[in-house]
């Protein structure tokens, strides 16, 4: 009687131990999945070109608008588009004012032609012909929390860019931003704040831009350079009806 009881309790214990082990594996897997999800969530949506984008570019429906962002923090060169991870946040986001928003910048997703181009600070927007207002927020370690903020974009430095009809590749200039560090974050990252000034340097690197796009879009034709025009509060907002509205 006692022996049978012992056997039963031993089996129960064995089953319990095996269940605990499988539960541990489950918990670990769930933890790993959670971590991966957090890693993904920490990324700002930025894209490499899809087949749909390439088709829009080839048909002339949209133009590839290329710009370069350069940055110095505490007078030292700083990579503006480090690949975000759980502990590394992006330091630049962009807003675009359109006909629909009457020039008021709203968060816009930028893309990278390649990983090398990303490291060198080259970004692009795919835009149908029209007049746009580009607002740049950064370098700022808290910039990710400002993507929905109309006021932050409203106060950010803004430039007008004109996307003309029948143009597939446009280079609008290279912008140089400065920032300063003010302490450290929990995981060791720097707290960076932007230093805005009335005159943000705009450089013409059309030769570099031309070489970069010729490498990736050899069939898209010649690159057109139309430099950004700085817009200051009080200047008129110029809008033009997009083709899609004229068709309606």
């Amino acid at each position: 009687m006692i022996a049978s009881r012992r056997i039963v309790s031993h089996e129960i214990m064995k089953n319990f131990a095996s269940r605990c082990l499988s539960q541990r594996v489950l918990v670990r897997t769930a933890g790993l999945l959670c971590f991966c999800l957090m890693m993904l969530c920490s990324c700002v949506p930025s894209a490499f070109m899809t087949a749909k984008d390439k088709a829009a570019l080839a048909s002339g429906e949209k133009a590839l608008v290329l710009t370069r962002i350069q940055c110095t923090v505490d007078n030292q060169p700083c990579a503006p588009f480090i690949k975000p991870s759980f502990t590394v946040e992006p330091i630049f986001v962009f807003g675009l004012g359109t006909f629909e928003t009457v020039g008021e910048p709203k968060y816009a997703i930028h893309g990278f032609v390649s990983q090398e181009a990303r490291q060198a600070g080259w970004i692009y927007f795919l835009l149908p012909p029209g007049i746009y207002y580009l607002a740049v927020l950064g370098p700022d370690s808290a910039v990710i929390s400002k993507t929905d903020s109309t006021n932050d974009f409203r106060d950010a430095p803004r430039w007008r860019l004109d996307v003309l009809e029948n143009t597939k590749l446009i280079y609008v200039g290279s912008l140089h931003f400065t920032g300063k560090t003010e302490g450290k974050l929990l995981f060791g990252g720097k707290i960076i704040h932007p230093v805005y000034s009335d005159e943000i340097p705009l450089q013409n690197e059309s030769e570099l831009a031309s070489r970069l796009l010729a490498e990736h879009f050899p069939a898209a034709g010649v690159l057109k350079t139309t430099l950004l025009q700085r817009w200051y509060p009080g200047d008129p907002i110029i809008i033009r009806t997009p083709k899609s509205f004229l068709r309606k």
Binding site: G234, D235, P236, R240, T241
Partner: protein, 159 residues
């Protein structure tokens, strides 16, 4: 179980309102505070009534417009007046918050020109809070009737 006592019903209703705890009270005030932009008065508009008024004359008298709709040949001057204040209070259990916010009234002066840069029509209008600026401008450009804030002005018809 159905509640039959009417006093209890009222009491429960009051309690639920207090628990949900949200009060919004708009208080209209005289429009004497400018929140944004530079107001354009009716008197300033008298020179627009002539169909000979040119783009340059408008720029000289009223300054640079806030919005230029290039292909529609429309100038827009906009400004915001304080219509009133919104008193709000939110409360639940032992905590709550309250405050006040200014309610803006969006005024626009819209002027359309023809190919010879002369005025075809103008209007001093109020944009509803629920309508976006873009929608409002498109409706005006298509000559869709607006809220009757001010009469439409068409110099060519008047003369």
């Amino acid at each position: 179980m159905p509640i039959s006592n009417p006093t209890l019903k009222v009491f429960l209703c009051c309690i639920s309102l207090v628990l949900v705890g949200c009060v919004l009270l708009p208080i209209p005030l005289p429009e004497n505070k400018v929140l944004a932009g530079k107001p354009v008065t009716e008197e300033q508009l008298s020179f627009l009534s002539s169909k000979d008024t040119t783009t340059q004359e408008v720029l000289d008298r009223l300054g640079k417009p806030n919005i230029i709709w290039e292909d529609a040949r429309i100038f827009v001057y906009n400004w915001e007046m304080r219509w009133g204040i919104l008193f709000w209070a939110v409360g639940a259990y032992y905590s709550g918050a309250m405050g006040m916010a200014e309610i803006p009234k969006h005024y626009l002066l819209l002027i359309q020109f023809n190919d010879q840069n002369r005025i075809t029509r103008f209007e001093r209008a109020v944009r509803p809070l629920t309508q976006s600026c873009s929608d409002f401008l498109q409706a005006w450009e298509k000559n869709v009737p607006m809220t009757p804030a001010s009469p439409r002005n068409n110099p060519e018809v008047e003369k």
